[in-house]
């Protein structure tokens, strides 16, 4: 019973796990390329929350010297790391969306099933062209 209580007390990690699984599920199951990127975003956000939870010390304040000797400080390093990871995540999403725009221009669709069919068709056409040339 007490172990269940301690799990519930760390509810922020439960949120992390739920977000992580939701994100991964969207990436795997969704057909739409933009929604896949949304899933990726959620997946990455869950890791951000994980890091931020790691650095938080209960009752801790921002790491600025207060002059009081027994002040409890939160660990700033994971938070700073996550600032970097957020920037990386933004860059990944931007590049992903740019690619989706190009895919839409080239194939006129961003649905995975249709794109797979078009891709296979491209392969067949290539082979046929060769057969005609032969």
């Amino acid at each position: 019973m007490s172990s269940l209580y301690s799990v519930l007390l760390n509810w922020n990690y439960i949120v992390v796990i739920m977000l992580m699984m939701a994100g991964l599920y969207i990436i795997i199951s969704n057909q739409n390329f933009i929604k896949k990127l949304v899933g990726l975003s959620i997946f990455q956000s869950s890791v951000f929350i994980f890091y931020i939870s790691l650095g938080k010390v209960s009752g801790g304040t921002a790491p600025i010297l207060t002059g009081v000797s027994d002040t409890v400080y939160s660990n700033p390093l994971p938070h700073v790391l996550i600032l970097t990871a957020i920037v990386v995540g933004v860059a990944t999403n931007a590049l992903g969306l740019a690619l989706v725009v190009r895919i839409h221009e080239a194939f006129d669709s961003i649905e995975e099933k249709k794109l797979l069919a078009l891709k296979i068709e491209d392969g067949h056409q290539e082979n046929e062209q060769k057969d005609n040339k032969l």
Partner: protein, 495 residues
């Protein structure tokens, strides 16, 4: 002195700054010139670095004067000094090759920007091969992934399927990188540090820890995606086969190799294996997976018609050889892995270059049908291609033979005969797909008269530079094999 003292930082900083400059240059030729001079500078610095490191064994460079473990450190030791040299060498040759091929595959107005991304990729690969900080590694991992995705997507000018390949790589690569970050988070929670050397020290003090083990598992999973190890390789064949040929040869030669080096570092360098978890992972996960990779890659390549895809699939098999050598888990096994890492980078780089020259010569994708009789029309390229192909099989007097020799030596030391059969049978199978290409290109008549553009001198020179290196390493193998020894010494101690 200022340069010599700061080589690790400059190796990343110079291509990074040059890439910003190149992106605003108006002319493709000037952009190429800047890129070429930059890579030459990097090669010079990499040579200087090998001399410094061979004198002092380990070089730790603290950024901004912040001493590790507080600041970010670049560490160069026996395990990665020649990897840095390999990255520098391949990037010079691939840049030379790009001069004559990229303009056929990418719109001229995009070329300066393409060279900017090209330099960004090279900068991040230098960073990846030197960094000693777990989180800094993630940043370089993402820079290299995003820039190589952009380069792969540039293949869309020729074939729109390049966009899908790039998108798949982006999604799979981002999941892999995020897994790696989760792992780093767990290790940080367990040890309170991000410096790899410091992590070893702290883990030694606290002993086996559930959080550290979980973190290690996440890190391994993430890095294996980037390295193209078998079950998580799916992004690799499409990405390499639709990218422009210069990009294919650059990425297949060094991008996955850097990730494999880091895989070895995590496996053998970080974790103090008190409960034999790594031993179990190597024996029951990495070894079977490598054997499957070797056979899957080789057999899939036999049935492949498209030549670039064929060599991408054979890359999976070759990566399988490297991870197989690691999974033997002995001193000679690890050194065999590192020797094959270098040799395969040279061989696969040369093969992709040759295929690119053929494809530009015939003006369409290189396949088993379109390449009929091309070998006789382009004898210089074809000869280089055949030598690189023989090296892939492991014929004596080529670098591939040295790899197989050391691999066999490592296997014989374990005394387990069945592994000998694995390597021998898979090498024999790889003869099939290479012979198929040789036969089509040399013995078969083209079904219609070929209109072949003359092969460009620059592309041939870069191909032959690699081929000469392959032959040289096949005859004078002392340099490569001593690198393998040094790498194993640096990772698991002198034996």
């Amino acid at each position: 002195m200022l340069i010599l003292n700061n080589i690790p930082a400059l190796l990343v900083a110079i291509p990074l700054l040059a890439s910003a400059v190149v992106s605003v240059l108006p002319s493709a030729r000037i952009a190429w010139g800047v890129a070429f001079v930059t890579t030459l500078c990097c090669l010079y610095m990499a040579f200087e670095l090998t001399e410094i490191v061979s004198a002092s064994l380990t070089l730790s460079y603290a950024f901004g004067g912040w001493e590790p473990p507080w600041g970010i450190a670049f560490v160069v030791d026996g395990a990665n000094v020649h990897l840095v040299l390999l990255v520098a060498f391949i990037s010079v040759i691939a840049t030379v090759y790009a001069l004559s091929t990229l303009k056929h595959e990418i719109a001229v107005e995009d070329l300066p920007k393409a060279y900017a991304v090209w330099l960004l990729t090279i900068a991040s690969l230098f960073g990846l091969s030197m960094t000693g900080d777990a989180f800094n590694l993630f940043v370089f991992l993402e820079i290299s992934a995003l820039s190589s995705i952009t380069l792969i997507a540039l293949g869309a000018g020729q074939d729109r399927r390049a966009l899908l390949a790039a998108y798949n790589y982006l999604i799979i690569g981002a999941i892999g990188a995020t897994f790696y970050v989760i792992g780093v988070g767990y290790l940080y929670a367990a040890t309170g540090t991000l410096n790899l050397l410091d992590i070893i020290k702290r883990l030694n003090e606290i002993g086996t820890n559930q959080a550290a083990v979980t973190g290690l598992a996440f890190m391994l999973a993430g890095i294996m995606v980037k390295a193209g190890v078998f079950p998580v390789h799916i992004w690799l064949p499409a990405a390499y086969s639709f990218a422009p040929s210069a990009v294919s040869s650059l990425l297949s030669a060094i991008a996955t190799k850097v990730a494999i080096y880091y895989l070895a570092r995590i496996l053998f360098g970080i974790f103090i294996d008190t409960t034999h978890l790594i031993d179990l992972f190597l024996l029951f996960v990495l070894m079977p997976v490598s054997v499957i990779a070797i056979f899957y890659g080789t057999i899939a390549a036999i049935y492949q018609i498209d030549i670039k895809r064929l060599f991408a699939l054979s890359s999976i098999a070759q990566i399988g050889y490297i991870t197989f050598a690691f999974s033997i888990n002995t001193h000679s096994g690890i050194s065999a892995g590192f020797i094959h890492l270098i040799n395969h980078a040279l061989i696969k780089g040369a093969l992709f270059m040759a295929v690119g020259i053929f494809a530009i010569g015939i003006g369409q994708r290189a396949t088993m049908n379109s390449l009929r009789g091309v070998g006789r029309q382009m004898p210089i390229t074809f000869t280089g291609f055949v030598i690189a192909g023989l090296a892939l099989i492991g014929v004596p007097l080529t670098a591939g033979f040295i790899s197989k020799l050391y691999l066999f030596k490592a296997i014989f030391e374990t005394g387990n005969g069945i592994y000998v059969a694995v390597i021998a049978v898979s090498s024999a199978l790889s003869v099939i797909y290479l012979w198929k290409i040789f036969e089509v290109m040399w013995l078969q008549e083209p079904l219609q008269p070929l209109k072949i553009e003359k092969e460009s001198v620059v592309a041939c020179v870069s191909l032959w530079l690699l081929v000469f290196t392959i032959i040289t390493f096949g005859i004078y193998s002392a340099g490569v094999s001593s690198y393998g020894m040094n790498a194993a010494n640096a990772l698991i101690g002198v034996r």
